[in-house]
Symmetry: C2
Subunit: 213 residues, 2 copies
């Protein structure tokens, strides 16, 4: 068992605000970070890899994982189930590795209220504008007008929960937002509770003090 | 009144651990920081400037300030009184400026337990070794052996309260510790509670959302 328990770093934002790109950049910045791959019952989109982008599982299996307490959080969005499998998260944080979550406000809330809530650190990423979000969905050309309208309602639902997060960033510029994310993670690691090994240092100081003339 | 209330940034460490140098560097880094000049009943040392290094006041005046509730925190150390005058701190944080405190664990504890405690952020700086602290006091050549012994006991007393702080740093290298301090301050400013102006941004997003086709 590691001397330090890993943090649960939660990133939330409406889709299109840059969250996935930022998560990827954080992972590249710190290879010790462990990414929590969500499980979902929706079908893979072109290019998505099972076990990397998502664990693609069926509804029956999803329900079993939930009832067995294997899901740290889960939610139902647009007719599909999404959740964060607990075992890999547990293993990572017990090994002292921080875990990055790319999840929505419902998941963030469930983790905050879970037994691991004390180790959670949540960051909300706001878009500079709604028009820009809308434009990106339209440009992507993947979805019908109806689906886009649904996604935009979901975006607003997501944004309306921004005030439950520890930190909030407006993603005006990706590089700047990336730098701020790193600042947040670096600072959290300097917290007293995140440095149990410092107790050894203080014991050494005490021994040195007692040896003074 | 500013839309954001300033933070109370508390630096503590045993004397000789580099705290004053670090405080000075932080002040140079961010000129919007306001330094809380302590009041003391001790005599000025050579080179110390009244109103800049300390407010040098007599015991009667100190007691009046305390009884009038004009001291945010105060303590008695080595036969002298030290305290942080409240009015300049109040004025600075209400103007949205963060205030830097170079105070000991007793002061830090009092601020944490005060009405302003919710705005306090405390950082403890540990020395790499006690031998080094001792060596610096001896080399400085200002103090008798007896005074040095007393200071070292005070140092240990200070270090033994390291675990009450939000953040802890070992000052192995001044530049590195300075960078870490800046990281902590920058991250704290990204917290939800520190960015009340973001509410306006979210209201704008809402208006944009309602205008969507």
């Amino acid at each position: 068992m590691a001397d330090r328990r890993g943090l649960l770093i939660i990133l939330s934002s409406p889709s299109g605000a840059g969250k996935s790109t930022l998560a990827k950049r954080l992972m590249e910045w710190d290879p010790t970070l462990s990414f929590s791959v969500s499980a979902t019952t929706r079908k893979p989109r072109p290019g998505e890899v099972d076990g990397k982008d998502y664990h693609f599982i069926d509804e029956a299996r999803f329900r079993t994982w939930v009832s067995d307490g294997q899901m740290l959080e889960h939610a139902h969005v647009f007719g599909h189930s999404y959740g964060s499998p607990q075992p890999p998260v547990q293993a990572a944080i017990e090994a002292g590795r921080d875990v990055l979550f790319d999840i929505d406000w419902q998941g963030a809330q469930q983790i905050r209220n879970s037994a691991l809530g004390a180790y959670a650190l949540s960051i909300f990423i706001l878009p500079p504008s709604i028009r820009e979000l809308h434009r990106r969905l339209v440009t992507r050309g993947q979805d019908s007008e109806e689906v886009i309208a649904k996604r935009m309602r979901k975006s607003w639902d997501e944004i309306s929960h921004w005030d439950g997060y520890d930190y909030v960033l407006i993603n005006e510029d990706l590089d700047e937002t990336e730098a701020k994310l790193k600042t947040i993670v670096a600072a959290e690691r300097l917290k007293f509770a995140q440095q149990p090994r410092l107790s050894d240092h203080v014991r050494t100081l005490q021994a040195q003090f007692e040896e003074l003339p």
